[in-house]
Symmetry: C2
Subunit: 174 residues, 2 copies
């Protein structure tokens, strides 16, 4: 689908296609439909990022809290969204050793107890080694900095999900 | 569940229980968890309403756009959320005559084409006659007034869904 076709979508279809570019937040996609027409994929992405930035800090924490734990109960019970499952599998998170699963679970719990939201990272830009290292490092962040850092990861995840749904402008010219 | 127990819920459980008090907007519930402890059910409800009011106008339209059409494809294909289905059935919307279904579909389409979001009404505070009448009347509203009117209905729906999940304070004293 190219951006011209995107601009013609009624809101129902727009939300069907883009409703999970920010995990479990179709409200954001549905809000951004008000901003069409989009001049490019980058313009659509910027509108989503602007909307996220416009939310109060509690709203940003809300976005984080509807994300699943990495390698958590959702991956085991297969209740992840399709997008999250593919991203976690691509990062090798379904092939952790028992020791790695325990370490991840312990760090995830420590992180959530400390910050009140789950550890969010763009799995497709990482692998299990860098994910574990960043989880340990980010646990030491001050709360405001860590919230901003996690929201940056939400935006990276959104960027890659959008790339998979809309043909980038350069490809259109081929 | 009473409000004391609600205040002890970790965010995952809080979102599991209250994630759909605003239809398909778990982001809102997850955001409001930051405001606990709540002194009462009314305090929790006020926090949700405050969060809704804090959103930009596009965000309020986003809330409306993730709502299903009344008597629309979701009711027919049984893809409504449990809460929406119960509310639509309670208002008698699953027993419309063919003529009423056609009229509702025509008015819904007209409403969506005009406003860019679906007609939202607290079905449990209405019946099929009052719903059809209000749909016709509200179609004539100015856009800003109608958006505010629809958001008031979202808050009424949320009020009744909350009442079904938390024991009101008066009952606690019995």
């Amino acid at each position: 689908m190219d951006i011209g076709s995107v601009n013609y979508l009624p809101y129902e279809d727009f939300v069907d296609v883009f409703g999970n570019v920010v995990e479990k937040c179709p409200l954001i996609t549905a809000a951004v439909w008000s901003r069409r027409p989009f001049s490019s994929l980058a313009d659509l992405e910027a509108s989503i990022n602007d909307f996220i930035d416009s939310l109060p800090e509690s709203g940003k924490e809300g976005i984080l809290r509807v994300h699943p734990d990495l390698t958590g109960r959702d991956l085991q019970s297969e209740t992840l969204t399709r997008e999250s499952r593919e991203e976690q599998v691509q990062a090798g998170l379904d092939t952790l050793t028992t020791a790695e699963v325990s370490r991840m679970a312990r760090l995830n719990t420590e992180y959530k107890d400390h910050f009140g939201f789950p550890f969010v990272i763009c799995a497709r830009m990482n692998n299990k080694a860098t994910i574990l290292r960043q989880l340990e490092e980010r646990l030491r962040n001050e709360r405001t900095i860590e919230r901003a850092c996690a929201i940056d990861e939400v935006k990276k995840i959104c960027h890659l999900r959008l790339q998979g749904l809309v043909v980038p402008e350069t490809s259109n010219k081929l």
